[in-house]
Symmetry: C2
Subunit: 448 residues, 2 copies
């Protein structure tokens, strides 16, 4: 029995490792387009900032560890076609040499690629759509060796924010533009404004409600033309406006796609073609709260889906429990986290949402170093059910694991009121007898 996995990032590696746990006799071959198995794409901003000095550190696991776990790695083998009838994958090595591999089971984990927005000049030198390890090495080189000093970040989503942070760390003068009224449009505007303040506090020039139409090379560097005037020129432009599924290989093989052309899968990560699974940023993701498929590419989800695909490919029977879109990002001194649905998303999904915002200290204020958190809780007026939560606060104020308390409550379908019943830990230096998440839940109840 041979399992072939296309892709060596989060989903592919998780699938391979899990398959070998479930069936240690399974021959498991991974095809990787590049030479970097199991790299943490999420770590690239910190390599660019210099906080992670060497890109080799970004591997979740080294090649030896993966091979010791029984994975056969074919690096620099780009899969170009799948024959579902013959059960073969055709790949090409960097020198053009073709390789044909037959499989009994297949996991497609081809990931995502950056969206190329309709901006003229994306091909100019100094303009980067960040995605691969090579991209990041190129950007870092540009920052360090050619001493770029003026950077433009196009896109205020979480990668844009991390990149702005990284470039300020490198002492560049950074301008960040975002089409929406606030940065990080995945959280509500009141929290987006707090993040905007944090960016400005660290010298970032933030421009909201602005679209870039074109980039032009001038003698002084790159100029950006957009819906607002942007007189200065830049040495470096990062265009990070989101990603889309790398699903062409699957589509060309005849597999179905759905939301945003992501590969269609059921909760067992089956594509509908026997023995063929798909997982990670290239597939549709089951949303646990919406009870339908969405496109929601996240590293955590890719790991979970990969594990499910690998388990099932090895003969197991497991369902993906679904995503809640839980995420956190560190932006300078702040952590920003969300889970579940925001007010607008909840309304669109047919709920009767109420969102309440409040502030609470992360720990008893009489113990030094307390930080104020801003929390937003969304619940359904009709049923009292918790629908989502958002938190902004100091990155050392346990924001990330506090959003997880809400995420777990959502996972179980708890009411907002039941959050008050959770037996959470407390000591004055690290919390409060009613944790901030419970203070927020109580505030919601008073207003509901």
């Amino acid at each position: 029995m041979r399992l072939v996995i296309i892709g060596g990032s989060d989903a592919g590696i998780s699938a391979g490792l899990r398959a070998r746990q479930v069936n240690p006799a399974l021959e498991t071959v991974l095809l990787l387009a590049d030479a970097f198995p199991n790299y943490s794409i999420c770590g690239l901003p910190f390599y660019i900032s210099g906080e992670t000095p060497d890109w080799r550190q970004l591997a979740h696991r080294g090649r030896e560890e993966l091979e010791a776990a029984g994975l056969e790695l074919l690096l620099e083998h780009e899969a170009r076609s799948i024959d579902l009838q013959a059960k073969t994958v055709r790949a090409y090595q960097t020198d053009g040499q073709p390789v044909e591999l037959s499989y009994d089971c297949l996991v497609i984990a081809t990931g995502a690629e950056p969206i190329r927005p309709p901006i003229a000049g994306l091909e100019l030198e100094g303009v980067h759509l960040l995605h691969t390890v090579e991209d990041s090495i190129a950007v870092r080189e540009r920052v360090v060796e050619r001493s770029s000093s003026r950077a433009l970040v196009v896109g205020g989503g979480y990668i844009g924010l991390e990149m702005a942070d990284a470039l300020v760390h490198r002492r560049l003068k950074v301008t960040l533009v975002e089409q929406a009224e606030t940065v990080m449009p995945t959280v509500d505007p009141s929290l987006g404004r707090l993040i905007g303040q944090e960016l400005r506090r660290h010298g970032v020039d933030v421009m909201n409600e602005m679209a870039i139409h074109a980039l032009e090379a001038t003698s002084d560097g790159i100029r950006a033309l957009g819906s607002q005037a942007l007189p200065q020129s830049f040495d470096l432009v990062l265009v990070v406006v989101g990603v889309r599924p790398s699903s062409r290989l699957a589509q060309e093989a005849g597999l179905s796609t759905g939301v945003r052309e992501a590969i269609r899968v059921n909760r067992r990560m089956e594509t509908g073609h026997e023995g063929v699974y798909a997982a990670g940023d290239c597939v549709e993701t089951w949303h646990r709260l919406l009870e339908r498929s969405v496109y929601l590419p996240l590293g955590t989800t890719a790991h979970k889906q990969g594990r499910v695909a690998g388990e099932n490919a090895a003969g197991g029977c497991r369902e993906f429990a679904g995503s809640l879109g839980t995420q956190v990002v560190k932006v300078f001194d702040l952590a920003v986290a969300r889970t579940g649905l925001g007010d607008m998303e909840a309304a669109e999904a047919g709920f009767d949402p109420l969102t309440v915002e409040c502030q609470a200290w992360d720990h008893k204020v009489y113990y030094p170093g307390a930080h104020r958190l801003t929390l937003r809780v969304t619940g359904d007026r009709r049923t009292g059910r918790l629908l989502g939560a958002q938190i902004v606060g100091h990155h050392q104020a346990q924001v990330a694991k506090r959003i997880d308390i809400f995420a777990n409550a959502l996972y179980e379908g708890l009411t907002v009121d039941a959050v008050n019943d959770l037996d959470l830990s407390y000591t004055p230096p690290l919390g409060a007898p009613w944790d901030p998440v419970q203070v927020a839940a109580q505030e919601w109840l008073l207003r509901a």
Copy 2:
């Protein structure tokens, strides 16, 4: 309608505030034996250490705030008897003046008092059983003004550990003795040993498996006689070997008591006598996992039980969801947390427990400042159900809110395996794609 509440600490105040939320017309009178309403007992170690300069900062809420919420506070009114038939409480002011109050509903929240162990010499000057704000003021005075330099802490539970930390902060030479083989016997010995190492690293002389029989005054200070030789003398001795319920008032009124003489209550916090509720450290606590009453005094539980009692006293209908014994303590640079059952407790309760220990980084190690966590997960071999968890790690490594992820999984009765399905947040500076709690769950599954 008048609600009388005996006790102005966590449970009593929570009851009063909640009762007034539910029924703003309810006359709500609180009797306090001392002059310190709503003080955070858990904060006393930090007042002694000096990290909290003024004891007045320890109030969760000021008197004005409580009165603005509609609570009538009778300070320095010690309740000495309850007449359940006549529905009256008799209290005495500090000058001996009696006061009789009639009630329609009563909440008894008399808290706990330190256990006085069978050690001769507890009455000596310089020996303190910490409990009240006054005790702590006396200890702090002794430390600061009489410049004590040698301290003995009897008891290695969480208060003993916090006190050792506080006194080292004051530059005292501290000896800590504990009867069990490791400190903090509420976590498993392997973790207790990590805490012992942390104490020693900060200069605390830790003596395990040692009982103290007597304390004696000598010209050089206080000497301690015990099962091992303790040649040095001390200027200050803190005896902190646990607490017991202050239930005498309730007992003398004719109310039933149960486990360790705590006041017997049902999950509505009813004592069995109509209109009479009890909550907090003076009552039995419903354990959600054991499905029986235990004595488990914690500030978080007192707040929750008080809230339930207040809601029901005001005409509501709410049940206490139960405790899991979730707790965390900061000891120097470490946080130590637990929830649910340890291996031995689980076996005693009739489960077939397996406990697995592992280590994991709190965040991706390529981002600076990662800390190694030690996690223990206990699950039931027969059903796969999660039974408990313990974590030790740096206090800035989100240990407190990570134990809460396990606490929530316990609350819902999840299996260990289901912990892997939880959609937890991730960014490299604050976590990992599989959070350490999931790494531990996977380790358990591999060994189960």
